[in-house]
Amino acid sequence: MDTHAALYQQGKARLDMLRQLKARTPHSLENKMMENEITRRDFMKWSASVTAMLALPLPFSSLVAEAAELADRVPLIWLHMAECTGCSESLIRTDTPNLDSLIFDHVSLEYHETLMAASGWQAEENLEHAMEAYKGRYLLAVEGAIPTANNGSFLTVGCKGHTGLEIIKHAAEGAAAIISVGTCAAFGGVQAAHPNPTEAKGVHEVIDKTVINLGGCPPSEKNIVGTLMYYIMFGKLPALDMFNRPKWAYGARVHDNCERRGRFDAGEFVEEFGDQGAKDGYCLYKLGCKGPYSYNNCPTERFNHHTSWPVLAGHGCIGCSEPNFWDDMADFEKPLGRQLLHGVDATADTVGAVILGATAVGIGAHAVASIFAKPLEE
C-alpha cells in the first residue's frame, strides 16, 4: 500500500470513529448550508480546493467533505490571551458567510470568549466543564501571547482572576492537540516586541508539548480552517516546518509564488508609492517588501474569499507570519539593508558614539606614539 492509500485508510477509520460520537447540535452542516444558500456543488468545490491546498491528491476531497460534516464531533476550546481578537475576527466577520466561516460555526466550539453567550461565573464553569468532560481529546486553539513577567500577573482572565499562564498550562494538559492561532500565540507578536516589559512569549515557550504555529497577523482563514480539517480528518498534526508551522501552508516564501516575481527578476522596481512603476505592478522590494524572508501562502490563497492580499493591493509584505517580525522587519517600507538601527535620533546617537569613540582612540594612540617615537634626526 503506498503512503497516500495508507493515509486515506487512516482518515477513513478516524472519520468512522467520529461518526459514532454524539453530534453537538441537531443542526447538520447540510441544513446550515441550505439556510445560507450554499449549494452541494459549492460544497464539493470547496472540498476539492481544501484538498489541493493541503497538498493531498483529489480522491481525498470526499474525505474532506465528510470531515467537514463531522466537524461537530471534535470538541474545540478556543482561549484568548494577550491579543486583539483580530484572528477570530478575520475568520468570523464576513459579509456573506462562506464555507470557511460556516465550518468554524459548525465545529463543536465548547468555549470561545468572543462568540459565547455566557459571561462571568457561568463562562468559567463552561470552560472547566469542557476541559473535564473532553479531557484528553479536545482541540485547543490559542489566540494571543502569554505574559510571563511577575509570574504572569500582567494578564488575568475571568472572575477567578487566573493568570493567562495558569490557564494555558492547565488547558494544555488535557489537550489532544494545540494550535497557536496567529503570530502572538505562535511567537509573542507585538506584545513580545522590544522592550517587551511583560515578557510575553509564544505558547510553545511556556508549555512542553508540540504546538502548531499558525503565524500571521492575522493568519488567513484558509490556514486556520485547513489545519482544523487536517486534524479532524487524521487526528494528528500535519508535517511541520522549522518553526512548527504546517508545511502545506508555510512551505514556500511569499517571494517564491508572488505574482510580481517576474518584475523582481527583471530588475523592475517601484521607486515610490504612486509612480508609474507602481501603476504597472512593478516589484515592491525597494519599498520594503519582506516577501523574500517570509514563509506563507498569501500569494496563492489570498484573503477574504481569495479576493486580494497586500502585494496585489500595492503594499509590500511586512513578514507578519515570521517570529519577532515587529523588530526584525521594521522599517516596513524599507528593505532590510536600509533599516535604521533604532529610531532616527537613536541611530544618529549610535553613529556619533562610534565616530567620537574612534577619534578618542586615534588621539590617544597618537599621543602614546609621540612618547615612544624616536626623534626625527635619527
Binding site: 517576474g262 517570509s294 526584525d328 522587519m329
Partner: protein
C-alpha cells in the same frame, strides 16, 4: 659583462596561497558590488523585461559566492595541512605576550617587528577572525541560497538551512547578518591594503610584492 645581484630573495608565499589570495580578493570585490545591488537594486530597469537584470546579477553573486566558499574551505585546509609551516609558526607569537608588545610597539613607530612566522600576532588574529567571518558569511549565504533554488545542491542543503534559519530566529535575521558581515570585509580590506603598504615602507621589505611574486627581497 656580469652584474652581481644587489639583493637576495626568499620565498614567502607558496603559489597556492597566492592564487587563493587573489581568488578570494576577486570574489570579495564582485560579491560586495553585486551584493549591494541585491540589497538595494540601484540599476535602472531595462527597456524590455526580457533582460533579467536581477537574475543575472544574482547569478554572478551566487557563482562568486560558491568560489568564496571553496577558497574559504581550501584555505582552512591549507592552514592546517599545507607543506610550508610559515603560517602555523605564527601561533607561537600569538601565545607570547612579548610578541604582542613588540608588534604593537612596532605599529607605533617604535622598534622592529620580529616574528617566528610570516604574521605578527595582531595580524594573525585578524586574519583568523576574517577567515571565520568568511565562513559565517558563506554559511548564511548558503542558507539564503537554499531558498532560491530548491533542486540539486540547493535542495540538498534545505534541511540544514532550515535548521540554521530556526537557530538564527528567521530568514530575516540570516539576511541581516549576511548584510552586516559585508561591512566587516569592506573595513578589513581598507585596513589590510593600508597596513600592507605601510609595513612595506616602514620595515623596508616587499610585503605587497610577496603576495604577487611570492618573494621578499633584502639588500645584501
Amino acid at each position: 659583462m656580469s652584474h652581481s645581484a644587489t639583493h637576495t630573495r626568499t620565498l614567502i608565499f607558496s603559489p597556492a596561497i597566492r592564487i587563493f589570495h587573489w581568488f578570494r580578493a576577486l570574489s570579495i570585490l564582485i560579491l560586495v558590488i553585486t551584493g549591494f545591488y541585491i540589497s538595494w537594486p540601484f540599476l535602472v530597469a531595462p527597456e524590455s523585461n526580457d533582460v533579467q537584470v536581477q537574475s543575472y546579477i544574482r547569478f554572478a553573486h551566487l557563482v562568486f559566492g560558491f568560489l568564496l566558499t571553496a577558497v574559504t574551505l581550501v584555505r582552512f585546509y591549507l592552514f592546517f595541512f599545507g607543506k610550508s609551516d610559515i603560517e602555523r609558526r605564527s601561533i607561537q607569537d600569538v601565545l607570547s605576550v612579548k610578541s604582542w608588545l613588540v608588534q604593537l610597539r612596532s605599529y607605533l613607530w617604535s622598534g622592529h617587528l620580529h616574528k617566528a612566522g610570516v604574521y605578527g600576532p595582531l595580524q594573525f588574529v585578524t586574519y583568523a577572525a576574517i577567515s571565520f567571518a568568511a565562513l559565517f558569511i558563506c554559511i548564511t549565504g548558503l542558507v539564503l541560497y537554499a531558498n532560491v533554488y530548491h533542486l540539486g545542491m540547493g535542495g540538498m542543503m534545505w534541511e540544514p538551512a532550515a535548521w540554521i534559519t530556526a537557530q538564527m530566529g528567521g530568514l530575516a535575521e540570516v539576511r541581516i547578518w549576511h548584510h552586516y558581515l559585508t561591512w566587516v570585509f569592506i573595513i578589513f580590506t581598507v585596513i589590510h591594503v593600508y597596513m600592507a603598504v605601510w609595513s612595506g615602507i616602514r620595515f623596508k621589505h616587499n610585503s605587497v610584492d610577496s603576495i604577487v611574486s611570492g618573494y621578499d627581497y633584502h639588500k645584501k
